[in-house]
Subunit: 295 residues, 2 copies
């Protein structure tokens, strides 16, 4: 596990460098926008989604530089979603990763626009020849990311989540909300390597299902940390979900039931990797990591 | 001119049908999101940008169904930008095309998310095989739209526009702001047909320059209408730019100077079409239209 955490940290550094390259500071008057984009993206974080892209690409022995671009694109979308979710009209969070959120550090208009520009940049990065010499791969990546991030994916999940504040969801509804809100993007991160490698549909599907289960397990531990963690360890305000009356797997199944479910899902995720042999070891370690992490 | 207005109206109807197809109502709990997206997109409007795509594609005799998808994608991005621009933390507009704006009709959170989902959908539409059988074309369209819409395009221009409320821009700054805020998207709409046709770089560049000049002329008449028009004819609150202390070509050059500039730009736009013969007649009519329109 220590060895894996070192790997995770190294991958995060490489992703940070890539994001830094994709977001140079600009001398123009609109530098405030790019400052806010950089602030949103370069403020740390586990970089779990990018790691999933990198580890998934390892299965197919793909070129690292190209995978990093896809990993960065996924993180750009994740960062945009956090900036918009933190807005006063949404979750109204002042703190993220131990720092003021973008609309607090800059202002609301800049936060809205920085989120918009980060989302747009993600598609620009994927469509660029540097990401893959094969236009079919680039367009498949764009289509996959758009489906995962849009109204039938992440944004739809966020709407459900807000709706659930006044209309508590049952277990099935909560699972569906989580699948949309975080699961689809994690599934895309998991299958991105297979898209880049133009792998067989069964392989692509296996990696999607692996990532889907992994994502749910990750979300449950996130919710458990929200209930159990301290603000210091988690780096954001805790207990907020319960205070906001939000439906989570923990509120539906209880702490013990949720922990059991996470362990079950993690094992189920690992089972999808059986065909891939040793090349999937980093993905296997991830299954272990998501249920044992403490922040 | 009457004949041209009929053509414009017919194209707008076809674009509306395409947008309607791309945005079916959904039975799921998150239907509020899709309701807001439909409200934002299907509320009328001149559909000038989509018409530019359609007329630009006519130059290369491209298949209408595919052009409509690209035209719709451009309109989705335009609609998203209006939804976000109207937010209280941005321009704080309650009225758009004679109807309550999205955050008034729904709520702010839904408006932010509907905008996000519209932008994402635009890329999904372009990346789909239905848009072009050639993946190189699809990925070029995605790249072009992302560049035009992002931090170095429309979003950057919006940041400049907000900044200019407290820091009036000079003529060069105002022209640059307009180029970013509306010009880049209009230029993309103008060159989209050339991208779809994989036209020679000189042809693509000529259509970009045509659309660039046309876009500036269009923006100036927009600003003139803001100064001179009535709320009824324009369909949104007028005189707001001046009240907000915004820099426009009209505030920099005065009404007469701005009108002269629009006429000059319209003629300059038409000159870029000389190589294209009769197939560019719809684009030529557009040059006339943008300086004579009354709403």
């Amino acid at each position: 596990m220590v060895e894996f955490k070192v790997r995770l940290a190294k991958a995060a550094e490489a992703v940070d460098r890539e994001l830094e390259n994709l977001l140079p500071t600009v001398p123009e008057l609109e530098h405030r926008l790019f400052d806010a984009m950089r602030y949103a993206v370069l403020g740390g974080g586990k970089r779990l989604r990018p790691f999933l892209v990198i580890a998934g690409a390892e299965v197919f022995e793909l070129e690292a530089a190209r995978c990093l671009r896809v990993a960065a694109a996924v993180e750009l979308v994740h960062a945009y979603s956090l900036v918009h979710d933190d807005l006063p009209c949404m979750d109204d969070d002042d703190l993220r990763r131990g720092r003021p959120t973008v609309h607090v550090q800059f202002d609301q208009a800049t936060a809205v626009l920085a989120g918009d520009a980060l989302l747009t940049l993600a598609f620009e990065v994927l469509a660029d020849r540097k990401t893959s010499p094969d236009p079919e791969v680039r367009t498949d990546l764009v289509a996959g990311l758009a489906r995962a991030a849009g109204g039938h994916g992440m944004v739809g999940g966020q709407v459900l989540d807000l709706w659930a504040e006044d209309n508590p969801l049952d277990e099935a509804g909560t699972v569906r909300m989580q699948r949309l809100k975080t699961g689809e993007m994690i599934a895309f991160a998991g299958e991105a390597g297979a898209i880049m490698a133009r792998a067989r549909p069964q392989q692509r599907q296996a990696l999607r299902m692996f990532a889907h289960d992994l994502g749910l397990a990750f979300q449950i531990t996130d919710d458990l940390l929200d209930v159990e963690g301290s603000t210091k360890a988690v780096g954001k305000a805790v207990g907020k979900d319960a205070a906001a009356g939000k439906s989570t797997i923990v509120s539906v199944l209880g702490v013990e039931g949720a922990r059991d479910r996470a362990i079950l899902l993690s094992g189920q995720a690992a089972a999808h990797l059986d065909h891939f042999g040793e090349k999937a070891n980093a993905l296997r370690a991830l299954c272990e990591f998501v249920i044992t992490r403490s922040n």
